[in-house]
Amino acid sequence: MMLAYRTNYYTGIIIYSINIGAYYFLWTAIYGGKSDIEGLSVIQMVTYIAVAWMARAFYFNNIDREIAQEIKEGKVAVEMIRPYSYLGMKTMQGLGEGLFRLFFFSVPGMFIVSLIFPLSFAANLSTWLFFGLSIIFSFIINTQINLITGVLTFFFFNNDGLIRAKRVIIDLFSGLLLPISFYPIWAQDVMAFFPFQAISYIPSMIFTNGFQGNALYDAIMFQLMWSVLLLIPIFVLWRVAKKRLVVQGG
């Protein structure tokens, strides 16, 4: 589907590179002459941001928006006459898009970026393995949150506001824009009760070797716990939603 439009593909790669480039200049300006802030050197910081964006290419998807759209236009009727689980199909669609973006957008994008800017990549194989495991959980948790937001359309019929709010919350509290360790202590305490940092902060910290030893296992457990916990609201909401389904527009 994404290869159906060629221009889309090429601009996609360029946008990824520009994005990471912009953050590079932003952070070198912020660091000025300082060698490190909050224990992260400027190269670690830029690597953190670059990896966060690369991981985002994989876990990010628009299925909340798509579900909302399909409900609003009544297209969900067509999906319901197909012999598969609607939410399962959406998840797999997100996974397909994620893998596509990872290998065809962000890997070429990262390659270009690493030629231009100094990034420090982990040499350690186990770091790569933990990072891989961690972004799989990122995908699961982000997709679960998207499914919940999307299914809520069955109840509100128009939840553009909710979808937008969710996107801002995730960008802000997942550690995509700024590592969680940069937030004030009270904010960090509050965020520990929410699943958002499992999406971006944990895999990026693993990759930049910010987590070592027990902290690493705790972080993975934190992700595992949330990906199980979030299944509950999805199943409950979906059961109720199917009863309330109204196919709009004929």
């Binding site: 319901m80 006459i81 012999p83 109204v246």
Partner: protein, 340 residues
Amino acid sequence: MMKENQMIYVNNLRKDFKSYSSRSGLKGAFRDLFTRNYKILSAVDGISFNVKPGEMVGYIGENGAGKSTSIKMLTGILTPTSGEVIVNGMNPHKEREEFVRTIGVVFGQRSQLWWDIAVQESFRLLKKVYRVSDEDYASHMEHVIDTLDIAPLLDKPVRKLSLGQRMRCELAAALIHNPPLLFLDEPTIGLDVLVKNKIRTFLKEINERYNTTILLTTHDLQDIEALCERVVMLDQGKVIYDGSINDLRARWMEGKEIHFQFKREVEKDELTKLSNGITVDWQPGKRKDLWIGHVEDNDEVISDIIARVVNELKIIDVNIKSITTEEIVRNIYEEGAVRE
């Protein structure tokens, strides 16, 4: 009646919707933020009917009569408020994923093909989704593609097809898994006569060849006349007629219409004076010189009327017409019930 032998068994099915109404004005809008007024509407209000395997049934009704809502309950999309539905031996919404493998659905107003990719890619995807074997696909779809004449369209993306081309592809897509039951929701909407005919012939052939049961909703009664022996008619969520289309015609076909076009404008008095002694219902036509006489279907009466009129008044044109199904259905809607 035995539920097991029926393809579709519907008993006292209903679906209620909450319908919210907003208050007027700014004050009303603020009040709506806290409490909203609503009414419970029954889109489908206790309908019952059965369809036998291999039957082709026309499902008709005005807009908003509850056709689409009931089709959506029969296909497992909507959960009924109450009542019983058994289609193909299964409960559609409870066993949805397994159930939909045994049906094909075409919504005339919605596409189920993927917009951006070539038609054959959509077919291949659906073939995988329905787990159709290569042999079954080849033997069955070759015939379908041939009959619908869509072979030249297969490598084009759906967005580049015309409506008629797309509709034929939609039909083929709904038949990939060769389902024993086919639901068609306004399949000929907006199509030209040639495409309509092609689709009708195709449906007939499918029905004969595979004994496919077809439930068809449409506003085009010619579709029904060409395909269905039986009609189920809905009005305001209730079944108002269920029987053969011939019976429906026979019940209403009490007379003929004689259309006169006179050389000059004619008053009703003149005509009633002329037809004195015969029961004729004179209806004015679109212009003053056009009149329609409704008479009983009896050749002597018809000849007599024409003879008398022609003797007295100069005419340009005379036409004797039987009442069409369309007019019958329109009359039924106007009266809101079927004559017994």
